[in-house]
């Protein structure tokens, strides 16, 4: 159990991280990537309700954050893959902790 000191200072890095992970659709895209999905079409299939526009935008943002790297594989057909960087893989623990909390505390919809 992490112990928070009561006088802990505000941390802008944490602030950035939590809102990056929790941005609309980003959390579920990250979980799909951590589950091993790399191909654009597979990620899309893993997240029902997510539009192409939104998925592309989120992947671009994750690329800008150096969380995924985009690879274009020569075809035909040309394939686009998104691979987690070390920084992206390191999100595994945070995503797992949120998932475990959700399983215990969030009622099924």
């Amino acid at each position: 159990m992490h112990d928070w000191p009561a006088d802990e200072q505000f941390c802008p890095r944490y602030h950035h991280a939590v809102e990056l992970i929790g941005k609309r659709w980003t959390g579920v895209v990250l979980r799909a990537l951590l589950s091993g999905h790399q191909r654009y079409a597979d990620i899309r299939r893993a997240v029902p309700g997510l539009s192409d526009t939104m998925l592309s935008e989120r992947l671009r943002e994750l690329e800008a954050e150096n969380i995924v790297v985009r690879h274009v594989l020569a075809g035909p057909p040309t394939r686009v893959e998104y691979r987690l960087t070390d920084k992206g893989q390191a999100l595994n623990r945070a995503v797992a902790a949120i998932a475990e909390w959700a399983e215990e505390w969030v009622p099924a919809p």
Copy 2:
């Protein structure tokens, strides 16, 4: 290390949880609460840049999610405290994991 099966199904409870925690300002308010801040004024002071309107709204949302309980203490002066429920306390691990990732991977602003 949590191992994600490649065929893991989409989880609406995780989806709800990650976007709840990552909603604008919610993550930092949660961290302030987990650090032991309970009084409205203390929470506000712990989060620079957060307006009264936004803090009230976020606390109401956390109350609706049964993550905090609002207590009004008889005065004078009347004091309002927000105490984490068991569900709220259980977020400690997820918040700590995000903070640790941020410390390691997010550059200082």
